[in-house]
């Protein structure tokens, strides 16, 4: 049986999730040059928000088709509120401070959010079961679940909507202007604080979509899930060219596929048995990152920004 189509599908799905989270890194970086390391935790709280809706708000036995949109709303409210709150109370006071200060704040915030969830969410000190969408479909030699369809469809919708928003809408163009030069944008009458809040909110919303997809796909969430996913998404954002929203999505997909293929096939290459398998997937993903950055330091779709270097 040829496993390549299935492995590509696995990679594409994983990559779409990285891409959705990477949007949050890349938009915030594009506008305020801040690497928001707490973004992985914003993703995590989105999953807990969605689970809260399912466990404590919806009546038992709600069909999943009705539950999923409401869970998305719940997750999005939590993620967006936390993202915007982080901007307002943790990052805005430090705007204009040396770059290192907000970076350390982000790391501190990330730990604080993890511990808050662990201590205050019921039973969150261990993995919590999340309702799954486990019905499977066979398409040719590929088997996918409903959760996978949810993930891929929502990734496509979200990305198209974002592309339209940034290019066509008034706020989107204000966003581009702020990214290009915040001071001049302000002189042109753009409320840059509002733009920054919107960037955080969009990042939070995308993280909530990814978080819901994560829960539906893997059926379990825990308070530390944001760390590794956040790191991978950040890698995806850098790979695609940080600051570029299409780059984030492309970087995510490339990273996901690279990981999956490395894990699936490297140990079939003669002499490479020891360097293959699931446990080496991360290694190969980062080798790829290093190679890309060697030849294209700005990332796959990144633009050279001479005036910012």
């Amino acid at each position: 049986m040829n496993t390549l189509p299935q492995q590509l599908a696995n990679g594409l799905l994983l990559g779409s999730m990285y891409g959705l989270i990477a949007i949050g890194y890349t938009m915030v970086y594009g506008i305020v040059q801040l690497i928001n390391f707490a973004h992985g935790e914003i993703f995590m709280t989105g999953a807990f928000g969605a689970l809260t809706v399912y466990l404590y708000i919806l009546p038992d036995g709600t069909p999943m088709a009705a539950a999923v949109p409401l869970m998305l709303v719940g997750g999005a409210i939590v993620s967006v509120l936390i993202a915007v709150g982080a901007e307002r109370f943790a990052y805005r006071p430090l705007r204009g401070a040396p770059r290192l200060a907000p970076l350390i704040t982000a790391i501190g915030l990330s730990l604080a959010l993890q511990e808050a969830v662990r201590n205050f969410y019921p039973n969150a000190d261990k993995a919590l079961a999340f309702p799954g969408l486990d019905t499977t479909h066979d398409i040719g030699s590929i088997t996918i679940k409903d959760a996978d369809i949810f993930l891929i469809v929502s990734a496509i919708i979200c990305m198209s909507a974002l592309a339209w928003f940034v290019r066509k809408s008034r706020t989107g163009r204000a966003m581009q202007a702020t990214a290009q030069d915040p001071d001049t944008a302000q002189l042109m009458g753009i409320d840059t604080n509002r733009i920054i809040v919107i960037a955080f909110a969009i990042g939070g919303f995308f993280a909530a979509v990814a978080a819901l997809a994560f829960g539906l796909k893997y059926g379990s969430i825990d308070y530390r899930m944001g760390f590794l996913m956040g790191l991978k998404a950040f890698t995806a954002a850098v790979l695609g060219g940080i600051g570029n929203i299409y780059g984030a999505m492309l970087g995510g997909v490339v990273l996901g596929i690279a990981e999956t293929l490395a894990s699936a096939y490297i140990n079939n290459i003669p002499g490479m048995q020891q360097l293959g398998g699931q446990s080496w997937a991360n290694v190969w993903a980062f080798v790829l990152l290093i190679l890309v950055l060697l030849f294209r330091p700005q990332g796959l779709l990144g633009e050279r920004v001479a005036d910012r270097a």
Binding site: M1, T3, Q6, Q7, N10, G11, L13, L14, R118, D125, K126, A127, L128, A129, G132, D134, T136, D138, T143, K145, F214, Y218, G219, S220, D222, Y223, R224, M225, L228, M229, E259, T260, L261, S263, A264, G277, Q278, S279, A281, N282
Partner: protein, 411 residues
Amino acid sequence: MRQRSLVILTSVLATGALTLTACGSRDDSGDKSNSGSSTTFTIGVDAPLSGENSTTGLGIQYGVQVAVDDANKNNWVPGVKFKVEALDDKAQPATGQQNATKLVGDKNVVGAVGPLNSGVAQSMQQVFASANMVEISPSNTNPELTQGKNWQTAKKRPYKTYFRTATTDELQGSFAADYAYNGLKKKKAFVVDDKQTYGAGLAKIFAEKFKGLGGTVVQTDHVNTGDKDFGSLVTKIKNSGADLLYYGGQYDESSLITKQLKGAGVKIPLFGGDGMYATTYIDVAGAAAAGDLVTSVGVPVDTLPAAKQFIETYKAKGYKGDYGAYGGYSYDAATAIIKAVKAVKDANGGKVPSDINDLRSKVVDEVQKSDFQGITGKVSFDQYGDTGNKQLTVYQVENGEWKAVKTGTAS
């Protein structure tokens, strides 16, 4: 005038401060002088109490707690009370080592129960050995811990302060392979581990024994702890034609693997070791867990008449965590320490040695000589510190619960 008032103020403050300190030290010494009639010793517990593996970890903490409560209530050691100090190692070797250092530094600690994970134990053994303090793990199963690096060829005990009430992976892996091949009639196994001391060791022993019996290991793979996406691995398993997946590691990853495996339409059972034997595995994996198997050390605590009261107390107190896997072994481990303290006291003319170092080293010797009927069976230790109780049980998930399907003594 101003100068004088300053002097007065200073002296008042100084007197106040001195009085306060004096009060403080009087309290301290009061504690110690009381100890003539009733000394309180601490039994340390080190286990993951939060995060990964915490369900089982809490079972260890409260298993010890029940033993200590029993000892205090029934006055097992006249004139001596015990209390528990539980430290969270988060399943991380570095944290475990810090905890060990902390316990050793506390002059009231006579011995420790724990840790849960073999990898953590490796980082703690040396600390306890230097302080000559007894450490009894209810759950470590890696053979190296008691029998040295070359346990397969030349057994040599590395630390004489380390004991365990759990049997080893050497027996557990073989027992699993035997059940898989002869009991389940499985011939082709796909073997995965998490590269940790426990998981990798167990998977290796299983694979060797399974091949020895005539089965085939179609492929092996390794995962990272903390991984969530096993799509690629699942596709490989699906394509390999294996009729059994053996996993060496903890429930955190294996519950996700089994879920994704069954989700991809691969209906083969996942077989693991005692690290997976927890209710969380079933909670997370849900229906996908049906038919999955584990081996665990000892016999099911629920079936032991001697453990009936332990389980009742545990439930009545509303303790968190899962006593099923190691609660009983933790109880027996704590009991072994308590009984050792009693033996030391009796041998010393009814007085507990006043020097804590003297007491600790004598407790180690007494634990080595342990021979009593615990709630999990006979508690005794061989020349390596391994338990004399070599029973193992295979459990299978049936209707959302672990059901014992085979109990036996490893050969």
